[in-house]
Amino acid sequence: MKKILIVLLICVVSISSFATIKLAALMPMTGSVAAFGRMIYNGIELANELFPTVNGEEIEVVLLDNKSDKVEAVNTARRAIEVENVVAILGEVISGNTIAGGAVAEESKVPMVSPSSTTPLVTQDKEYVSRVCFSDPFQGLAAAILAYEIMGLDNTAIFIDVEQDYAVGFANYFKQKAEDLGKNYFYEYYKSGDQDFTAQISDAIAKNAGAFFIPGYYQEIALIASQARQLGFYEPILAGDGAAVPETIEIGGDAVNNLYFTTHYDPGAPNTTENAKLFVEKYTEKFGEAPGTFTALGFDTYMVVRDAIERAGSSDPEMIAKAIRETVEFPGATGFITIDENGDAIKSVAIVKIEDGEFVYSTTVNP
């Protein structure tokens, strides 16, 4: 009797797993960049609720927390592929983790689509790792245009997080454009998790910095901004998409008012696609507030992968990977998404300003 039951159970389990398509969401749900993971996962969940099936099969999303850690990023990628047997991976979130986890996906030939990793290294020489966001050569250019041309600043202090691939790369592209324009800049360094930046800020003030550019993540951006204001730095502060979470305002308080940053999307920008309207409407209905940048990217990641599975007409990871790179003008929440043969999306950069504790859309820089 017991044996029959076990056999029956195995049949039920295998049948039920046969009828679903499994995706993994590898997100930092805890740790230093958890705010990104939570927002992105909200977007994925919403997309999954609105579009739960593909090719007549149910889509199941397995959430695995990488704790904002590179080692855990590799572990969760392995678990997703080897234990959960997923056909595609949504994630990782920050560039350093996507580089680490992406190596596993590449080796196992399972497609991985990152919502938000902007460093070029993420997709470089990879066939299975793609992204639905712009990459840093363009974001760095846009940030430099914002600082030097739109705002007319000079002698920028660039604060580099030496531990993050994202920050190092992004700063480098900013610097290149600054040199092209014949403008001045200098570097200050810190490390993820630092709390005290007073020495770097004092040094930057002594060097007469005309602006701060912080291509890092929100925890440090908020702390640098508030310590800078306390130490008497009144010039503009700029950042990248690492600042596009409410935590920047919560932790930074008044100090982040007038902070400008480059980002992927803002609900205040004109909606271009049907999905964008649907996304804003449904999100607002569900959460009672306007969606953020990363939520929209999470939504788009799911939608792009679902679209690729539909076009591939199969749940074979290799065919899905191929279909992802053939995405052309897909109408996503953040605009039309085309993924080129390198796995990069070509998109415009939105510029957002913080005013009285609110994100206010300012303008868009097109490629």
Binding site: I160, V162, Y189, D196, A199, G232, Y234
Partner: protein, 313 residues
């Protein structure tokens, strides 16, 4: 570095150093008695900040009461950690206790992730805003972006002054307790020889529990001052300050309370000055703290104020 800048850095260094000192004293007291490095100390520091945060945001108690609640909570937590985790293995080899300490640390961090979520919370608005103000000495008035502001000068955050005064006051009280009360005398006796002290009719476990409670209360005070300065709290916030305080305790000579204070101040000032003098090395600030640890351990393992252990053969 200009003179102004030097003074600014020195003040920042003393302020962060006195926080290290507060935490390091707790490490050193426990080590002095049990020869145990209590790695959970940094997590008690973190828990205290959460107690304070929730007392204000969830139960809307006034801020001064929340400080008392948080410090009392930290003391109780320290006491419980000793009773639950360390007391049962009091006579086990030292390495077992060390591993237990690491286990307790992981437990508290994970518990905080489950209870308080892994996303950073803002500590702003928990305390009155005057704590975030600055005292500005010198500088000149200018108009920038439509606002009258003072440019240049030396800036002393109000919290820096409060931190230094609080640390001094708390350490004075601690000194009174350790050197001028019966319990303090018992503590010093326990740190010399546990079996003999217990033969003299001292309840050793109670004295050890009290030491944990006192050390944890200091970590709690340090945690709150830390969070006012860096207004962001998350479950792993205690890790690095804990490690730095540990280095400070080693530097000063572990087991010596006065040494821990000196070690904390030296470490705080050195950290800031290294960045001040060599800005390009700022990303490796923490590495310097560990470098200090290695140098001290290889050159003078007993630290600046530590006593050499005399072993009778």
């Amino acid at each position: 570095m200009s003179f102004n800048n030097f003074i600014q850095n020195l003040l920042n260094g003393i302020s962060i150093g006195s926080l290290y000192a507060l935490i390091a004293v707790g490490y050193t007291m426990v080590y002095g008695i049990l020869k145990l490095i209590n790695f959970a100390h940094g997590d008690v520091f973190m828990m205290a900040v959460y107690f304070c945060f929730y007392a204000v945001t969830l139960f809307t108690v006034p801020w001064w009461l929340s400080v008392i609640i948080a410090v009392a909570g930290a003391a109780l937590l320290g006491f419980l950690i000793d009773r639950v985790a360390y007391k049962p293995i009091r006579n086990a080899p030292r390495i077992s206790a060390l591993i237990t300490a690491i286990g307790v640390s992981f437990f508290l961090e994970s518990l905080a992730v489950v209870l308080f979520s892994g996303v950073a919370k803002s500590f702003r608005k928990v305390f009155p805003s005057f704590l975030g103000e600055m005292i500005i000495i010198g500088g000149e008035e200018q108009v920038k972006y439509g606002q009258n502001v003072i440019v240049g000068g030396t800036r002393i955050p109000v919290i820096t002054i409060i931190t230094i005064i609080t640390t001094a006051a708390v350490l004075l009280i601690l000194w009174r307790i350790v050197y001028h009360t019966k319990q303090g005398m018992a503590m010093r006796a326990v740190s010399m020889d546990i079996p003999t002290t217990s033969l003299m009719g001292v309840n050793v476990n109670n004295i050890i529990g009290m030491t944990f409670a006192l050390g944890s209360a200091l970590a709690g005070i340090g945690g709150i001052l830390w969070a006012i300065r860096y207004p962001q709290l998350w479950p792993y916030m205690g890790f690095l300050p804990g490690i730095k305080a540990f280095i400070a305790a080693i530097l000063g000579g572990i087991g010596s309370i006065f040494g821990a204070v000196v070690g904390g101040l030296i470490l705080g000032v050195l950290e800031i000055m290294i960045v001040g003098f060599f800005p390009s090395l700022a990303g490796y600030k923490d590495a310097f703290a560990f470098l200090i640890l290695i140098v001290v351990l290889s050159v003078k393992p007993s630290g600046l104020m530590g006593q050499k252990e005399i072993k009778k053969v």
